[in-house]
């Protein structure tokens, strides 16, 4: 009987430690989710009116912090360009003025974005793009060296072309144009091979830019 009592005690101790060991509340979760399922990633939950205590989604971001770029202004003047053969465009409105699709194999996302004023400055934007493909930030001198100035009907364009390191390289082409108190960004980013294939047509788009 003493052995049974000791067994009871040790079983209880073991059960307690198993409970503690099984605690998995701070483990990393992993899910594969179809693109169409649920709201877009990062969509903030809005606390609906009438929601009871504790169910709200919390405070809102301070002005200008709804994402990695400020909220979109309504452009005073529209930007236009000539679309090369095979390319498609979608006027999305809002922060992203348009989305461009190149007829190439692989990933290559084109975008036209408009922001008010200098939009944080050229150096900051260039370093943000470089960071997105894993390149270190550069200073003003290196910025000037990387910049290629192009002419268009809409004005002078600062053009940048960066390629990342690594086995699968990413490439980023970006034209930056200040006009009418606004800054326009025309960007193509994706797999190096796809972006390289689309580069000649992308340069034609930049050259064809013109305002209303």
């Amino acid at each position: 009987v003493p052995a049974r009592q000791l067994k009871t005690l040790s079983s209880l101790a073991l059960a307690s430690s198993l409970f503690l060991a099984a605690c998995s509340r701070d483990e990393i979760t992993h899910f594969k989710v179809p693109k169409s399922g649920g709201p877009p990633a990062g969509a903030p939950m809005q606390p609906p009116p009438g929601m009871p205590p504790g169910m709200g989604a919390g405070q809102q971001a301070p002005p200008g912090m709804q994402g990695d770029v400020p909220p979109p202004p309504a452009p005073d003047r529209g930007m236009h360009w000539t679309l090369p053969k095979g390319w498609t465009e979608e006027r999305t409105g809002g922060m992203r003025y348009a989305t461009l699709k190149a007829p190439v194999q692989g990933k290559a996302d084109g975008s036209v974005v408009v922001l008010p004023g200098p939009a944080g400055g050229e150096l900051q934007n260039v370093n943000r793009w470089r960071g997105q493909i894993g390149l270190p930030p550069i200073d003003d001198a290196a910025l000037a060296a990387a910049r290629k100035v192009m002419a268009s009907k809409a004005g002078k364009i600062s053009f940048y072309d960066f390629t990342s390191e690594g086995h699968t390289k990413s490439r980023l082409l970006a034209g930056l144009l200040e006009a009418g108190g606004q800054t326009w960004f025309v960007k193509l980013t994706g797999d190096e091979a796809a972006v390289t294939a689309a580069r000649p047509d992308f340069m034609k788009i930049l050259e064809s830019l013109h305002l209303d």
Binding site: T8, L12, P53, K107, Q132, T189, G190
Partner: protein, 395 residues
């Protein structure tokens, strides 16, 4: 048992005597009363969940010495008292309840109480409270935590599906470096704030810890965690993704920042965002109709009801379910209760509880009730027999 206990060595016998002492039962019950009182009062400053976490869930209640970093143990926590009481009830049952028919009722009562405590431990460790907010016509296949957040890293490169990795904020709070299994990424946690205030950075502010993204324009001020249940923490962190020996810069992430921020490594694009902790379900819920009935001539709610379509292709389920007050949907280990609503009655909020021990309190109550009935029945039968024998002897 008592005789056999004498064969146990003296030190163990002392432990045996203490653990099977009925005085210990009384001490534990008194301790629980003190804890319940202290926990109730502490809700003023800590909020409901904070008070439960400070008094009921831990093994020890700690006291932070004012104006210092010293923390002192002041009282046994709810977990410790509950565990001791559970062991005490089980062992006193073994020691005092002889396996005789007239004790069967009391044995059932003891077993019921032990199951009750075991159930509470299982709930404390395994219960997950989440919510599912769905608008009319919308289909939702995930539940979210109303209180906990996570750093979500999403590989958005695949055109058909996203790979979503969630790093819970508890992990960010205690880890310096987190390897994200399934990706080449390692996340270095530069700084974590359980609660903070974010403001646009003024020229006079010190430089931001963030080197990239919106964080470079933001000043973060640490705040004490919120205590009011109506408020939520602004969970904020500076994190640095590293992959293949390349740093992708230090980013600011916070649950009050909207759009996710992104970077590309080896041709794969990853987004970073701090969001409510989310679990995806292998089934979906579509809200077809929401009813909000009030008593005539008043705004006093009479009933809330959500008519949902439950679709689970894996289990071949595709059926309508009406969820209303006190009539939850129980499905695949989760219980969906009608909890709230919003957006002019077009949004329904379901509280979702996942608790593998949910049946145990019911079993425990059943056993205790049955035990009391059995014990009463046995006592009544004995009393009736005695009376009959007495009547027979006197006539």
């Amino acid at each position: 048992l008592t005789e056999n206990a004498r064969s146990i060595p003296a030190p163990l016998r002392a432990v045996w005597d203490v653990l099977t002492s009925l005085k210990l039962t009384i001490v534990c019950l008194a301790g629980l009363m003190v804890l319940v009182m202290a926990c109730t009062l502490a809700q003023v400053n800590l909020g409901t969940w904070g008070a439960v976490a400070a008094y009921m869930r831990p093994w020890i209640v700690w006291w932070h010495l004012p104006a210092s970093t010293i923390v002192l143990p002041v009282f046994p926590g709810g977990a410790l008292i509950g565990a001791v009481l559970m062991v005490n009830l089980a062992l006193t049952g073994l020691r005092y309840l002889e396996p005789k028919r007239r004790k069967y009722g009391l044995m059932l009562v003891h077993a019921g109480l032990v199951i009750f405590f075991v159930g509470e431990f299982i709930s404390a460790i395994y219960q997950v409270d989440t919510r599912l907010a769905v608008e009319i016509g919308q289909t939702v296949n995930f539940v979210e935590s109303p209180r906990e957040n996570e750093l979500t890293i999403t590989d958005v490169s695949d055109p058909a599906s996203d790979e979503v990795f969630g790093l819970p904020e508890q992990l960010l709070a205690r880890a310096d470096t987190i390897a994200v299994t399934g990706t080449p990424l390692t996340i270095k946690v530069r700084r974590y704030f359980q609660n903070a205030e974010l403001t646009n950075r003024a020229p006079s502010d010190p430089p931001s810890m963030a080197t990239i993204g919106v964080g470079t324009q933001v000043t973060v001020k640490e705040l004490p965690p919120v205590s009011n249940d109506d408020h939520q923490n602004t969970v904020t962190a500076y994190v640095e993704p590293v992959a293949g020996g390349v740093s992708y810069g230090t980013w600011l992430v916070s649950n009050v920042l909207g759009s996710p921020q992104s970077f590309t490594h080896e041709g794969r694009t990853y987004t970073l965002a701090m969001k409510p902790r989310r679990w995806y379900l292998p089934y979906s819920v579509t809200l077809k109709e929401f009813r909000h009935e009030v008593y005539p001539g008043t705004d006093i709610p009479k009933n809330f009801a959500s008519l949902v379509q439950l679709r689970d292709p894996g289990a071949k389920q595709d059926r309508e379910v009406l969820i209303y007050m006190n009539q939850p949907l129980r499905y695949a280990g989760r219980t969906f209760y009608q909890a709230s609503f919003g957006k002019q009655d077009t949004l329904s909020i379901l509280q979702v509880v996942e608790n593998p021990g949910w049946l145990m309190p019911y079993i425990a109550c059943g056993l205790v009730t049955l035990g009391l009935l059995v014990h009463f029945g046995i006592a009544l039968r004995r009393a009736l027999r005695k009376r009959a024998a007495l009547t027979e002897a006197t006539t």
